[in-house]
């Protein structure tokens, strides 16, 4: 699947979750830069899963630290 298309769809999804208005780049980290709490992470993951009809397991989430890695992972999961 096209990485750019995946990225633009995730860009739209992250907006309502980015309450602090952080400028999101490929290097932005979820825990550090966005300071998301557990519920926000869970809801954001669910939103992505629903958008692309995929599962991002906890095992896969553990490998994802920044925004770029998330886009890579979702692109790969879409096959």
């Amino acid at each position: 699947m096209d990485r750019e298309e995946t990225k633009s769809r995730i860009d739209a999804l992250i907006e309502p979750f980015n309450k602090k208005g952080v400028t999101v780049t490929e290097d932005t980290t979820f825990a550090g830069d966005l300071e998301w709490d557990s519920l926000t992470v869970m809801d954001f993951v669910a939103a992505i899963e629903d958008e692309f009809d995929i599962i991002i397991t906890m095992n896969q989430q553990a490998e994802i630290e920044n925004y770029g890695q998330l886009i890579d992972a979702v692109t790969k999961l879409r096959g």
């Binding site: 709490d37 629903d50 397991t57 553990a62 994802i64």
Partner: protein, 419 residues
């Protein structure tokens, strides 16, 4: 990114150690500081309480004060039952203080088999396996039955022992939003065809005291050919017509593949178990590492458990009194103006929601000074970062004591400005 998840009991990741630091304990510094700040402001340590004397299932001398216990999970008050104590004393005298061995070597005594027989009868199931703790029962069963390539679908508010069972195994772990049927179904639907599936649920969730819609959830799990494990730790003995738990109460116990339970709540001692009708269940005794590689329970413990389980089969009056206590406390606290974890009483746990950790600790201490012990629960063990005062009722709390408890809550709540 799951680093940021610090859901109820899910292992919390700690901040990274500064570059070049050699002390492996540096990662605990933020927690040490939070604790020092709390104690520095003059609070009694909520996590350092000592029971100096225990007078009954519901009263003890704590920090020098006679205290009503409202945070013990001793739901059925079996800890001082004369028959339970007598059977433990006899086993201690006849079989000694401990087995010094694994269940699969020298650690299976006649008493362990009797406990397993009592559990089979209590649940009406074919197989029962006793573990040394409830924690180990979840750890062992979950990590053993869900292997590499299998999927575990679980509620995000699951107990620590469930999360740790997932972490110990090699399965793919997929959490869903608490008690959310749609979120659960979506995840099951997306699992690759042919993969093994285990759905892990709890009857009663211990933080807020709410129950799961097991009937609906189990129907969904069945639709996707998943095996189902239900932890009924907080329901045994008083929920369901025979006290078998929430699955029995909702009429779906026959569809549950594995029930996990504990002896450290209603049964009144320590230990854990799994009961099942799976025809191949007995092989678990050889392949489940947290069962094999630890010593079995002492003979006195399994003797007390057996006696207690058998008495719980016929404890209708106690059950009724426990429910009456739960309903009265729930209504009383609500009328006083406290915010509670559930709209209606759903179990023997009533969670009082505090505005923040500091005021929660203040209220906890004020209650202790009034002579009442409750559990202070704080993030990350709690859902949504809440601070809770968790009350668990006992069938041995008298009507008079429930009245005293409400008076104490009113006094402490006004003193600390919570109500």
């Amino acid at each position: 990114m799951s680093d940021a998840i610090s859901q109820p009991d899910k292992p919390e990741s700690l901040p990274e150690t500064a570059e070049g630091s050699k002390d492996l304990f540096s990662k605990f510094d933020p927690l040490i500081k939070q604790r020092e700040d709390l104690l520095g402001s003059g609070f009694e340590d909520p996590f350092g309480l000592v029971m100096e004397r225990v007078l009954s299932p519901v009263t003890a001398i704590c920090n020098g004060r006679e205290t009503i216990l409202l945070g013990t999970y001793n739901y059925m008050g079996m800890t001082f039952d004369p028959d339970v104590i007598a059977s433990g004393q006899a086993a201690l005298a006849d079989f000694g203080s401990g087995t010094t061995g694994s269940r699969v070597l020298n650690g299976t005594y006649v008493g362990h088999k009797e406990t397993e027989k009592a559990l089979c009868e209590f649940y009406g199931m074919d197989h029962a396996m006793v573990f040394s703790t409830g924690y180990q029962a979840n750890l062992g069963i979950i990590s053993t039955i869900a292997g590499k390539g299998d999927y575990i679908v679980l509620d995000i508010d699951s107990h620590a022992s469930i999360w740790d069972g997932c972490a110990l195994g090699n399965a793919e772990v997929v959490p869903f939003k608490h008690n959310d049927l749609e979120a659960m179904e979506k995840r099951l639907r997306r699992i690759p065809e042919g993969a093994g599936k285990l759905v892990v649920l709890e009857g009663v969730y211990s933080m807020l005291g709410d129950i799961a819609p097991l009937k609906e959830m189990i129907a969904i799990a069945k639709k996707y050919d998943a095996m189902i494990l239900v932890d009924e730790a907080h329901s045994m003995g008083f929920i369901g017509p025979n006290g078998r738990g929430v699955a029995e109460d909702q009429g779906v116990l026959d569809d549950v593949d594995f029930v996990i339970g504990t002896f450290s709540k209603s049964v009144g001692t320590v230990g854990g178990f799994c009961v099942s009708n799976h025809p191949k269940f007995e092989i678990m005794r050889l392949v489940c590492r947290p069962y094999v590689f630890t010593a079995s329970l002492p003979p006195s413990v399994v003797a007390t458990a057996t006696t207690s389980i058998r008495k719980l089969m016929d404890a209708g009056d106690k059950r009724e009194h426990l429910w009456a206590n739960s309903k009265r406390l729930h209504k009383g606290l609500k009328d006083l103006g406290f915010t509670l974890g559930t709209e209606e009483p759903e179990s023997a746990i009533i969670a009082v929601i505090m505005p923040d950790l500091e005021r929660g600790a203040g209220m906890w201490e004020a209650l202790l000074k009034e002579g009442l012990y409750v559990n202070l629960a704080r993030p990350p063990a709690t859902p949504a970062g809440m601070t809770l005062l968790r009350c668990s009722l006992c069938a041995e709390h008298s009507e008079e004591q429930v009245g005293q408890i409400l008076t104490m809550f009113e006094a402490a709540g006004k003193k600390t400005g919570i109500i």
